[in-house]
Symmetry: C2
Subunit: 636 residues, 2 copies
């Protein structure tokens, strides 16, 4: 074993020789970003060696020879030598970057949509049971007496006790004179006992909401006695190393051992976040007896180890839409092994549980006559349009740009991310605000939208996304045919080097917004309505707490509607999971919604590519679609 010490925290860990430094950091609970999933491509996991000898050469190519000579290495490429290492993680945010700024986004969802206190009803409930003392003359075993104790409160339903719980029973019911706390699930007329603890343990009752995105995974710990969020942690999905989008992952999974690798990778991410979020709240993972998981159809298949191949092969039929209850042990999630995992239902190959969860954060889940639109912006973009009479849905591939993927300085909306950017019209110079008010480490999705909108308004980029080379600005660096916009020079940035975005990266963002806008427009055409007919537009996505929808309108990501029609609901997949976690009634509503949704296949629609191409302008080729943005741009 070799010892690794992480500075400035001073956290130490013993790992086998030759362990990757990135793994050592994860073992130690020290978070280091690895947007590329540890492939050595993104350069975000750079650390500096303070003491010890490590081979830095595998980091070359991404890091300069000077950087490596200065002790800098990629944590995902560097192995721990027998003598151990002391390394410095670039800034203090390294240890707390996993916490999404204001992870508690409940206040982004309209209060009337959230479950009321009297609706709190998690799948598994904790229940005090008084078990009769053992007596030979009644011929009752421990199990018989527990069963009778439960039935005396819950009626004569069959009581199921799995073997793992049976193994704890003899001692549990003898420890506190027969008083035990049973964790119970009532389902289809039967009672399932998933845990028995001695004494009264009803005060400690926990659940997790899990959002599995193609790019980002978020785990939220909830105290179920009060439906209170105790903590939220996010990280890149470790599957990224195997493909950036769902198609890449499906292709990767074609060999059985690679499907197993993908399954293990995403479980690794989920379980790592579980350990972080529980440690932060002084909860033991095995105390968690409820889990709700939402993700797109491919992510759900990969998490469960189901072959995803047929999702992308005609006729595009997945193994499951509505995943049956499965135990945490079967799935491999590191909570109480007998817990049932509740997966949000999928609607089709490309509209998954993230959308049926997200819908719960919008008026589309209510009995309204008004037609509303819900847009979920992730690596895939999904839209739902409808009211109480109909629900139509479609999906498009946006790519991971808004989550920091494929953008050199891109990052999630975690501490150090630039989330707002002002651009000085005269000088072109930026003013940045970061999550947590620390020196900037990178640019998150909301920062990208703000940056592009403000560059456009101030004339520093044109409608094609090209930087203005005609006017000199210290913020614009031109190198031959390539130009880049510098948000923070190396000396002002919280990372090794300047924070900048080049024109090719701007193109990625434009393509992402074009895919989403085109899909929305086509979905409305299918319904025979225009944007002006919409009552409300809900935007979900992993932008953290902050997304300026006026700016999103300026770049043509969302339609040009009055401000009050827009509602930013944050990570709606996570929040919908939270809602289902605290209230089974919402689970039933979710299943009903999923059953009502009609899937529109954009891939089969010849108009989609035209719409997409037309949207590859800021805000759009057809400026008449954005009259208010046009007059705004003309004014400035």
């Amino acid at each position: 074993m070799a010892r690794v010490i992480f500075q400035p925290s001073g956290i130490g860990v013993d790992v086998p020789e030759d362990t990757l430094l990135l793994e050592a950091a994860r073992t130690a609970g020290v978070e280091i970003e690895a947007a590329c999933g540890g492939r050595g491509a993104c350069g975000k996991c750079v650390v500096r060696i303070v003491a010890g000898q490590a081979d830095g050469s595998p980091s070359l190519g991404v890091l300069t020879a000077e950087a490596v000579a200065g002790g800098q290495v990629l944590a995902c490429r560097t192995r721990v030598p027998a003598g151990g290492l002391t390394v410095e993680v670039p800034d203090a945010a390294g240890r707390e970057g996993g916490r999404i700024a204001g992870g508690d986004e409940t206040d982004l969802v309209a209060g009337e949509l959230l479950p009321r206190k009297w609706e709190y009803e998690p799948l598994a409930v904790k229940w005090r049971v008084r078990v009769a003392a053992p007596r030979p003359e009644d011929g009752l075993s421990d199990l018989d007496r527990l069963t009778r104790g439960i039935q005396s409160d819950w009626g004569p339903a069959p009581v199921h006790v799995p073997l793992n719980v049976l193994r704890t029973l003899a001692d549990a019911i003898r420890a506190a004179e027969g008083l035990v706390t049973s964790t119970l699930i009532r389902e289809a007329g039967a009672l399932h006992v998933i845990k028995v603890e001695p004494g009264d343990q009803t005060a400690r009752h926990f659940g997790v909401a899990v959002d599995i995105g193609t790019t980002t995974v978020v785990v939220q710990l909830v105290d179920l006695t009060l439906a209170r969020i105790l903590g939220t942690r996010s990280d890149y999905n470790d599957q990224i190393a195997c493909g950036l989008d769902v198609i890449g992952r499906i292709n990767y999974a074609r060999r059985a051992e690679r499907l197993e690798e993908l399954r293990t990778r995403v479980l690794g991410t989920v379980n790592r976040l579980l350990l972080q979020v529980t440690a932060g709240a002084a909860v033991e993972p095995h105390e968690i007896c409820n889990a709700v998981v939402s993700g797109n159809t491919t992510m759900m298949h990969l998490l469960l180890g189901l072959k995803p191949e047929y999702i992308r092969i005609e006729p595009y039929v997945p193994t499951v839409h509505t995943v049956p209850y499965v135990t945490a042990a079967e799935v491999g999630i590191g909570i109480n092994p007998e817990s049932w995992v509740c997966c949000s239902p999928c609607v089709g190959s490309y509209v998954g549980g993230d959308i049926t969860a997200g819908l719960l954060c919008t008026d589309l889940a209510t009995d309204t006559e008004e037609i509303n639109l819900f847009i979920d912006i992730g690596t895939n973009g999904e839209m739902v349009l409808g009211n109480r009479d109909f629900l139509m849905t479609c999906a498009c591939s946006a790519g991971p740009a808004f989550e920091g993927g494929g953008i050199g300085c891109g990052m999630r909306a975690s501490v150090g991310a630039i989330e707002r950017v002002e651009v000085d019209a005269a000088s072109g110079m930026p003013t940045c605000a970061t999550v947590g008010n620390v020196p900037p480490k990178g640019l998150c999705g909301s920062g990208m939208i703000g940056l592009l909108a403000n560059l456009l308004r101030t004339g520093w980029i044109d409608a094609g996304g090209k930087l203005n080379r005609a006017r000199p600005s210290r913020a614009i660096e031109v190198d031959g045919r390539r130009a880049r916009y510098v948000l923070a020079p190396a000396e002002a940035s919280g990372r090794d080097g300047p924070i900048a975005i080049d024109e090719i990266e701007i193109e990625s963002i434009v393509r992402a917004k074009a895919a989403i806008y085109a899909a929305c427009r086509l979905l409305l055409q299918h319904a025979g309505i225009g944007f002006e007919d919409l009552g409300h537009v809900y935007i979900g996505g992993g932008f953290g707490r902050y997304l300026d929808l006026e700016q999103a309108k300026v770049i043509g990501l969302v339609p040009d509607l009055p401000r009050d029609r827009f509602h930013y609901v944050g990570n709606s997949s996570l929040m919908g999971s939270y809602i289902v976690l605290v209230s089974q009634d919402y689970r039933r509503r979710q299943l009903t919604l999923a059953g009502r949704m009609t899937y529109v296949d954009l891939g089969a629609d010849p108009g989609y590519m035209d719409q997409y191409t037309a949207a590859l302008f800021l805000p759009h080729t057809d400026a008449s679609l954005f009259p208010n943005v046009r007059s705004l741009l003309e004014r400035t």
Copy 2:
């Protein structure tokens, strides 16, 4: 790795250096007996080193220095050196000793008690399902279509598919144009799918009946399409090393890691026998989707990893009597992991599933007015008395003598066991018949009974079990105060040394028979009847196919009743398991029987020790209880 070759079979195996030779043999599938569970105490695992160098000194004490010098070692005490070994297993029976002679004991059970063909109904059935082709427009997933296919035949019951089966679904339903074979369990109004295979696989449908005794474990493979027994294998329970009887095991299990050790040991035995019996019938273990397990209450607790401690602590209340269905994966039995394991119900701490299974082999399971007695002879002896109106039961500790435990030359009723012994009245010399007609390796329970009965009849032992020293016989060797009876000299025996039994060992057998007779007598007293009131007496036990009940009467193991009242039913725990395995209707009868049985605690009865002491004579202190035996003995 080091290579070990076993002669005369020539079977070879590569094992890590320092592996115990006994383990290497098990890995290779070469059976070597180890009655003491590998503690180096019984000396039965002796092998001879033909090539290679091994340290024989750990075998000293049990083997003589000469034997060790001659290359003989105990397989349980000898480690494989880096250079490998070639060893000779004493006789050819070494490879087939695991097969109980005539393992198919169905013919010992009266035909009218066995399920009829129209009653064949295993817990899990195989069912051909035609799954509709995938079509995007119907919005049905693979799971939805499988569910509909099953429901079209079985009605609208909920269909449960566990995650392991879901993982195979996508390919299975596409492989044979939608034709699949589902293995289904119907339980409490729901359908559980435990396997899905492409095409028509209904012809291959297998189950196992498992009898877990304190001393012996038996696994029987059954072709469920015809209820035909394909093979039976038995071996000593690996737990023996941790205690010879249930009290010893319960004491051993007081620390959690030792309970886990006991669980792992018995699973090791079961799974080893499973591999042997399936290999012999060209069946893969994962093709087995039904299992019925019977054993006493302690054995069931240890198999399932349930704390057995409270079985022997007042008020003697175990964790379970009727074990709920558990999956093979939960238990750790190496068959299809989603198979449900059906455990025979226990009645009390000392009357277990072996008895409720055994009862099915007797008239006590039928609607008869006649009062019958069932005696199951094992390490514990259990009795059931009753008719259609009442069932009383009790248990006593007999010790492992009849299964070969604690007797130097004792062995199970496997190939090479002396199962019948005649004694020449004049010379005292024995004539032995062995299972499989091979040279004798040892003496099994039925041989012990025959030997003692014939020695008594011919006057070569007295009623106290002492050998007759007054008359000279070549078969009786006297060494100071100890005398022993030689069944086979070393040169005629199939093992290393003579086969003999001394007076101390004869005492063990007398104690075993006394415990059983005393318990029977007391149980009848509790019911207020005498032996003469019995219609039938059923004897069960692991004696193989052969038990001479007249001889059992002579030594006072069973009451002195006319011959036609006795029925030997063989290993009734195994046969009862077989019956339940092939017919769910008998499972229901078994549960009803278990519910009707009243337990009589002999330990709490002050008369038991008196009865026991009085029975420590051959046939009994009170000769008037055995009038026919007395006149027989007086005649000869």
